[in-house]
């Protein structure tokens, strides 16, 4: 069994013109954690994660690996955080895409390999055509769990 047999071919996606604020609205409305970003030709350009919101809300120094591991000395208020979200709202979502994200998988990727990647990245795996990076769908833990429950 490979990613081709498991993927969800019709997930919610956004275009590269989408704003940070707009993307957050969609995440909240749909109760999902990630949104694949596609260009006008349907090519996969990256994944917008809830993780990008956390990064925005934290002080920069806390997002540098190993630099500051504890923030209990720093008080914070909802107003101050809301201000940050409002400020970032109109920025295009493409400014938030990073290479930290899970790498894309291909239709031929085996189920074991996909599970290994979920094990390491715990998120949503984009499935793209190998050469063109045309977006085909996503693979999330839910597709795999569903398949495991099925008897046939």
């Amino acid at each position: 069994m490979t990613a081709k047999d498991l993927l969800n071919p019709h997930p919610v996606t956004i275009t590269m013109e989408e704003t940070f604020g707009g993307a957050l609205e969609i995440l909240l409305e749909r109760h999902i954690r990630a949104l694949p970003v596609l260009d006008s030709a349907g090519i996969y350009r990256g994944m917008f994660y809830l993780y990008d919101l956390w990064e925005l809300l934290l002080p920069k120094a806390a997002t540098i690996e190993g630099a500051i591991t504890d923030l209990s000395f720093m008080p914070g208020s909802v107003e101050e955080l809301r201000e940050k979200v409002l400020e970032a709202g109109p920025r295009p979502v493409t400014q938030f895409l990073k290479d930290k994200e899970a790498p894309a998988i291909h239709p031929e990727t085996s189920i074991k390999e996909a599970i290994l990647m979920l094990y390491h990245h715990d998120g949503v795996l984009p499935v793209v055509e190998k050469k063109t990076r045309r977006f085909l769908g996503i693979l999330t833990p839910w597709e795999i769990l569903n398949r495991l429950r099925d008897k046939g």
């Binding site: 920069k60 630099a67 209990s72 000395f73 720093m74 008080p75």
Partner: protein, 445 residues
């Protein structure tokens, strides 16, 4: 020294030429930074042996294990101490002491950096101080650049003050037999003057630009530094061990105990305190973690470098270089001291001061007969230390701490540009060397 090259150089080539060629090739490659310096130093060390300049036994004799042991021990101790948040505590506490006023915070963080650098390795110090600095400046909404620049400068300045503050001092102290106290008596006074003299131009450069709103300063004042301490028990243990180790350095001389013994024993003892209550599995993980925090790249670089320099030494190249230098300075000690100070400073601004000092140590040692024995060499050692350590401030690539700060600044989206740094730092470095020149002249010449 020639007697050590009992090994036969391949093809009957001249040992001096072969060792010089290997050494120069490694040096050039290290400067170009295309390959990691530890790889280069170890390759070069291997070539020295394979080419027959040194036997393996001779190569091992060339390694100063006192330097390596001292660095390793301190790295383990600081790695464990850093885990409990004491450095964050110190930074926040000092910022609040000046009511979080931006220029006051700049002064306090600079002084804290210098103090910590004097007692710990510079790289470790900036690794601990820079993240809190970024945090505080972000809250104050002031640009972090002046703070980072100042922390680079003060980490190198503070590090010069003691035996354990900066690797060149560790190497000089270890190979010449100078004690912790020797460094404190001879270098700390001038470093205090350099610190004060560096703060003045920094104040005038930045005082207008660094302003923050009341609200921003209040946010920093609300930081609770006590909460930064994550493990009070470990904190007490590691501070006690650190204090004992430093007291050990001060007292060791009379008991003829080498610094590496004290640092390694301290490290082992702190590991014991941190682990004896854990189960076997957890101990294995925790000890593994403590050792993985050690900067092995630096230690391996030292290892290779000592062998490379020993190759040069045993083939007579160092003695010849010393002779040339003596001829150039007319055999006058005072001229030599000043030449070493300025030469070391300018070179260390552009190349790594560790290989430079490793080469200079045997070179200066071999001048002993010309200057009336080991006693006569003392001012030269202080000149080398001041030049090599303070010279590192000259450019962004002058010392490892500089590069570490630049790296973290980049990751926080606040890159430090080479030329922008050079503009203010080079003059401040020259100022510190002028003061050192004056000091050496008044006190020793």
């Amino acid at each position: 020294m020639h007697s050590e090259s009992a090994a036969k150089v391949i093809f009957g080539w001249n040992a001096a030429w072969v060792s010089s060629f290997i050494f120069a090739a490694v040096y050039v490659m290290v400067i170009t930074e295309k390959l990691n310096r530890a790889i280069l130093a170890l390759l070069g060390a291997g070539l020295m042996i394979l080419a027959g300049v040194l036997t393996q036994e001779a190569a091992i004799r060339g390694v100063d294990f006192n330097t390596i042991g001292l660095l390793l021990g301190m790295m383990v101790i600081v790695g464990i101490t850093g885990k409990c948040g004491v450095f964050q505590y110190l930074a926040i506490w000092s910022a609040k002491k000046v009511k979080a006023r931006p220029i006051g915070v700049l002064f306090m963080l600079s002084i804290v950096t210098a103090l910590l650098s004097a007692l710990l390795d510079n790289v470790t110090t900036v690794l601990l101080i820079v993240p809190v600095t970024l945090l505080i400046t972000e809250e104050l909404k002031v640009k972090p650049y002046p703070y980072l620049l100042s922390e680079i400068l003060f980490s190198n300045i503070g590090g010069t003050a003691t035996l354990i503050g900066d690797p060149p001092n560790i190497m000089i102290g270890s190979s010449v037999g100078l004690t912790f106290n020797d460094f404190v008596f001879n270098l700390t006074p001038v470093i205090l003057v350099v610190m004060a003299a560096t703060l003045i131009p920094i104040f005038f450069l930045w005082r207008r630009e660094l302003t923050a709103t009341e609200a921003a300063m209040n946010r920093v004042m609300k930081f609770n530094e006590r909460e930064a301490i994550t493990d009070p028990r470990l904190l007490k243990q590691s501070l006690a061990v650190l204090a004992a180790v430093i007291t050990g350095f001060v007292l060791a001389h009379s008991a003829a105990i080498q610094p590496a013994t004290i640092a390694m024993f301290g490290a082992a003892f702190l590991l014991l305190l941190d682990n004896f209550h854990r189960g076997a599995d957890e101990q294995a993980r925790s000890v593994h973690h403590a050792f993985s925090e050690v900067e092995w790249v630096t230690l391996m670089f030292f290892l290779g470098l000592f062998i490379l320099v020993h190759g040069l030494e045993s083939s007579g190249v160092i003695a010849r270089m010393a002779k040339e230098l003596l001829e150039a300075t007319g055999g006058d000690r005072n001229v030599t001291v000043i030449a070493v100070l300025w030469g070391s400073a300018i070179l260390s601004a552009f190349i790594d001061n560790i290989p430079f000092v490793a080469t200079m140590i045997p070179l200066i040692k071999s001048m002993a007969p010309a200057f009336g024995g080991d006693e006569g060499l003392l001012p030269l050692w202080w000149a080398l230390s001041l030049g090599a350590c303070l010279g590192g401030n000259g450019t962004l690539i002058g010392a490892s701490a500089n590069l570490v700060v630049a790296g973290m600044a980049e990751r926080a989206g606040q890159p430090i540009r080479f030329l922008a740094y050079l503009k203010s730092s080079f003059l401040l470095m020259i100022l510190s060397i002028l003061l050192s020149h004056l000091y050496l002249w008044v006190r020793f010449l």
